[in-house]
Amino acid sequence: MPNPPAVPAALLHLLLPIEARESVSGDLLEEYREARIPALGQRRANLWYWRQVGGIWLRTYWWFVVPVILVLVVHDIFNTFRAPSGASYLDGLPPLALAPLSPLVGIGFFGLAGAYGSWRTRRWAGGFVAALGTFFVVWLFMAVWWNATLYPFAQVQQSNTYWIQAWQWSTHRAHPSSFFGFNPDTPDETFLRWIFWDNLGGLFFLGIAMLTASAVCGGIGSTIGLITTRWRSAAIHKS
């Protein structure tokens, strides 16, 4: 009998709580073999299986993804739409008002996803997958967001002092930096081309930073979640 792709099948086992692991994976396997393979063929049935597992992940952990996305989007908006002087509208706000926009909030949510995931699945790896999945969905969203807003935001940025100075500094430096010998900045580079490469570089470095944060905080959160689960089970057994 045909089998679904190994990666989503393994992810599914890490996503589901112990009481649902056998029945839900069995239901998907039955649907895959009995209905999807005959109707769609192996390749499209595999895609269907991937979508089902992705959907299960998203339904469980969307509420960790949304706050991180909100923090990043709000940051991007305030970074783009600046005062005519170039100053950010966030400057001068009290620390308490700025606290929800702190990168620590995003990092905290990776840890929370890890803790919740391991508590729910009673497996450390369940929490780790939750945290890494949160990173992946957020990063994918930001890739789409930055591409979709590149042109409209550039129309605003190219008339703002802050961004004009940043562009000129970047493209007219005496000793431009390069990344493994590659330097996309040139003196005659248009603003739009410069902001495109800036976005791409930002996406790359944001990805590395978030991946590291999700792995570390997700690991810590997963450990906390697992310990909490075992304490709770021990307390229930005692009573």
Binding site: G26, Q52, G55
Partner: protein
């Protein structure tokens, strides 16, 4: 006023009632998809079943697996008395809201 069951929750509960002894995850999913005439994600049905069980409207128990699912157990669902009560309440509310109107509705003028 107590929360009224959502339309998807009603669809899932009615599917369980319709399937009777055969109401396990995949069968419920296919029944709901057939009634709503659209593809339904397995996660949506699973999340709804978990929520209904937490609310005390359904009960579940593991049953025998089959070779096509590599022997993995199936989880069968039963609607409890509270679930029946909620379904009846939802239907009464629906009928009350629609009272005085003839279906299908038509635009005036």
């Amino acid at each position: 006023m107590a929360d009224i069951l959502g339309s998807f929750e009603q669809a899932v509960l009615l599917a369980i009632l319709r399937l009777d002894d055969g109401a396990y995850g995949r069968a419920i999913l296919n029944e709901v998809a057939a009634r709503l005439e659209r593809d339904i994600a397995s996660g949506a049905v699973q999340a709804t079943l978990e929520r209904l069980e937490r609310k005390g409207l359904v009960r579940s128990a593991l049953g025998r697996g089959t070779p096509i699912r590599d022997g993995r157990a199936r989880r069968f669902y039963t609607v409890l008395a509270e679930g029946l009560h909620e379904l009846n309440e939802a239907r009464t509310t629906h009928d009350t809201i629609w009272r005085g109107f003839v279906r299908p509705l038509k635009a005036r003028g």
